[in-house]
Symmetry: C2
Subunit: 157 residues, 2 copies
């Protein structure tokens, strides 16, 4: 993968992100991974399904990287988000940020995951034992119960 911001259908190897940000000027690398948790508020998840509008999602991930470089100066960033069916413990998203000093690496990595959940067009379908539901934006402020993402929004090519 020659990009620093990408969507994939394959299992995520966090080392792919880490390798892209390790460099002579960095003394600190922070990596955040979101993994599929079995229980949420007492309800058992069987598996998740993610869909994205891929070109826009990759563009938005890159925008988040640019925001971080703007805010923290000397930072390098790589972000990958997986789509398709994910099983419990699978990595859905991995972020790696390198900076000269550690405080910035932590802060920028945290910023990245909050921004991803706010603004990247990736939809999640929860599959439980007793049903399933499309969730809207990942902060769950918008519900997609009424409005399932359109085929156009979900296309992953």
């Amino acid at each position: 993968m020659d990009k620093n911001y990408w969507i994939t259908k394959e299992p995520i190897n966090p080392g792919d992100c880490i390798d892209k940000v390790v460099r002579n000027e960095a003394g600190a690398v922070n990596t955040f991974m979101g993994t599929v948790r079995e229980f949420t508020k007492g309800k058992r998840t069987l598996f998740l399904e993610y869909q994205a509008y891929v070109p826009m999602a990759e563009k938005k991930l890159e925008q988040i990287g640019d925001e971080i470089k703007e805010k923290w100066g000397n930072a390098e960033i790589a972000i990958v988000h997986r789509i398709g069916r994910l099983e419990i413990t699978d990595i859905a998203v991995a972020i790696a940020v390198s900076t000269p000093h550690r405080a910035d690496a932590f802060d920028a990595s945290r910023y990245a995951i909050e921004r991803i959940k706010e603004m990247v067009p990736i939809w999640k379908k929860e599959h439980w034992e007793d049903g399933e539901k499309w969730l809207g934006d990942q902060k769950e402020n918008i519900s997609y119960e009424a409005k399932i993402p359109s085929k156009e929004e979900m296309r992953d090519d």
Copy 2:
């Protein structure tokens, strides 16, 4: 490696730490890596040398893990620190923390690196173009210029 807290002479693969903490109950994994930076305050580092009192260092890393479990409850932790000669960009330390939710993973990972630098008996020798120096505790509050760690303190078996 069957331990969650260990000292190694081999290159660190952060995936080894990540694999130890990924689990059904976790929705978040934070990984912090300290890497060898080329320039510090304008001075070029050629390479670093780390020595540790290994049994005590591993015991202290485990203590930090216990402190995190106490403070954050549902957390799993793995920490590895490398010793010996490290080149620029090599990983000196890797920490992985998994928790159900992301705020705790970030906070606990940050706590771990601060505690490592405070209390784990690992000594660092900086090699510059124009000299070398043993540094004391990793927060550099204690200087080892007068007192180079004894052979007993530095033994790495």
